[in-house]
Subunit: 385 residues, 2 copies
């Protein structure tokens, strides 16, 4: 197995953007190529992630990107894995590079959603659940995560204030992220007074529908240039869970996340305590609380308390979502997994705003969830000393 490194990253602003999805994907890709100081012709394969291109009228975007980059001969494909699509694409690139089949890969995730209405987008998203059992019966994602939240509240005494702490922290971090969808701080009163989406989840518990793209260049040890060995991929693991929530015994965590994290730590020969900071999948505030428990940063049932006590602040004991997370940075579905890795890379290169810069970003972890856990990716990164 060859060593694999992130050599450069790129990301558009997240939010409501007046460009086509293919343009966003190309913008982020060019940024990543320039950041990595490679030439397009160095790229052996392009891994694209997108879920809802049908809504825009364009799928099969890899050949468009490669044609625009002047490398039409390079193979590409599009990967969908609900909200974890681009971390799945990252994993496929990692496998090809670690095995030496390719040496340099472009990985890019994008989504264009804001031209749709909220109800259209809610329906699109529901298509990634077990639609014929969940979606058609009216249980869309806010409802599914609300079921998880109430179960967590009942079993562990998790409170509305704990959920609110996640929202307030992530909005604060997003305020200092120039590419974030939402750049405004909120307080507990604003949080409490926001409209209920699906009890107990309110507007400020929920991530937005965003447009955006994120890209990175992945290289293996056979293609090492100046600076390209700064951030190493220690492990990249994917797992799944029972697709429909109704088929699970317990709603207070995500089985696939526990499996993926455990395996990722084993391969990286690390424990949760070794992780300096993490980007986790906070599509709803409860999701962040479950994530930090599933990964093993905090004991089961104690995630909410940790959030309330500030342990997950950017300068806390275990910084979580210094980017602002899906909650504030935004959630352009198939861009999110790569955007998490962009943040880890930028943190490790000390090039983010000092108000969200983690102090000693030695080991970073990215945790990306598709639906309620049907697909989960956990990737662990190390900064070269």
């Amino acid at each position: 197995m060859k060593k694999v490194y992130v050599a450069g990253v790129g990301m558009t602003n997240f939010g409501k953007l007046n460009k086509l999805g293919r343009e966003l994907a190309l913008d982020a890709s060019i940024q990543a190529i320039n950041d990595a100081q490679i030439r397009p012709k160095d790229i052996d394969a392009t891994y694209v992630s997108n879920a809802f291109g049908i809504g825009e009228g364009q799928i099969h975007v890899g050949p468009l990107i490669n044609s625009s980059l002047g490398i039409p001969q390079v193979p590409s494909l599009t990967i969908e894995s609900a909200c974890s699509g681009s971390s799945a694409a990252f994993h496929e690139a990692y496998v090809a590079l670690s095995s030496g089949i390719h040496n340099v890969a472009l990985v890019v995730g994008y989504e264009k959603l804001t031209m749709n209405s909220t109800s259209e987008n809610t329906r699109y998203f529901a298509m990634a659940s077990d639609y014929w059992f969940e979606g058609v019966n009216g249980v869309t994602f806010p409802g599914l995560y609300a079921l998880m939240a109430t179960a967590h509240m009942k079993k562990y005494g998790t409170t509305e204030e704990m959920l609110g702490s996640v929202a307030i922290k992530n909005h604060r971090n997003g305020f200092y992220n120039p590419k974030a969808h939402f750049r405004k701080m909120i307080d507990m009163e604003t949080y409490r007074n926001s409209a209920v989406v699906s009890y107990p989840l309110k507007l400020y518990d929920s991530c937005p529908f965003s447009d955006g793209a994120a890209a990175l260049i992945l290289v293996n040890e056979d293609f090492i240039q100046k600076n390209s060995e700064l951030v190493q991929v220690l492990s990249s693991v994917r797992a799944g869970s029972m697709a429909a929530l109704q088929d699970r015994d317990d709603f207070t965590g995500i089985p696939g996340a526990r499996i993926a994290a455990e395996k990722a730590f084993k391969i990286a020969k690390l424990s949760p305590d070794d992780v300096s900071f993490a980007e986790v999948h906070d599509c709803f505030t409860i999701a962040e609380i479950m994530a930090i428990e599933d990964i093993g940063f905090f004991r089961k049932g104690e995630g909410g308390k940790a959030e309330l006590e500030g342990l997950t602040q950017f300068d806390g004991k275990k910084p979580i979502n210094p980017s602002g997370g899906l909650k504030a940075k935004g959630h352009p579905v198939s861009a999110t997994g790569i955007a998490q890795i962009v943040e880890i890379y930028d943190q490790m290169l000390f090039r983010v705003d000092k108000n969200r810069q983690v102090q000693n970003p030695q080991i970073g972890l990215a945790h990306n969830v598709g639906t309620t856990g049907g697909s989960v990716s956990v990737n662990i990164f190390r900064r070269a000393k």
Copy 2:
């Protein structure tokens, strides 16, 4: 690099089917699991291919399949690469198995299309082209392939009769394939009199919109059971071409197909003459003629003549599409690439109708094209002696 084998295959009928896409995918998967004589829990990863699930209201089908198989923990993802999606999924599984990251993979492609009107499906398909330049200007796939056909006719003197020979041969083979969408033979007069879709391409030059699923179990040398080493994957290569036809110098062939075939032969240490038979991408009759030239079975410009002379018949010098091809077997987009491999496997195990059984199926090649060549896969297989 570990050796990789096809250990078993499964396929639904192709045509208008009264099942959901997810059911078709599961049906084919269970067939493949039984054929390979493995247990679901042997599977390390599931690679799904689908392009138009949005139309049916269900994407992210991997977790549904795995949940139904009792292996919810297993990672899955969905791959789209236009009409070459499932050969792209096959390639991803091949990479993971040859590198030893996984030992056993389920690869399944499916599509559910017949609930849409022809115009809806034509528009869906066009979304895989360079839609904002081709599709929105009214050039859908029949038109794009018609441009390639007229260019080929002008440059090489390819005739309507040569195109017709492809259709007649593939309909004949499909007649003997119990799973084919069309099981009727046609003659040259029927072909000539069929309605023009886009000159020179007529109804009988064109493959249908089909429902269907095809699956296979891929294993590496670390997981060898009885019979599982019968069909070895010698090489699996993907490449691309300029996405839009307008950006190419020449319309008479597919650049990515030539690149992929050349590389696949090099890795397999074989030449086109070594291939016993092939399944190629005949979405339109002209596509088969270009394919057998691009792969190198026949010299450029001589593909049409070879078809007319019967060299590509199941008992000819170079049998092409003994399954009936996309033309007669049908074309459920993201099932097609795997369905080609299903045919190669069944031919190598001598379990197809004697009226289309290739005599000495030692080396088989599968050639699968996305759009007009934006994505191309070439996979080469060897029957164990």
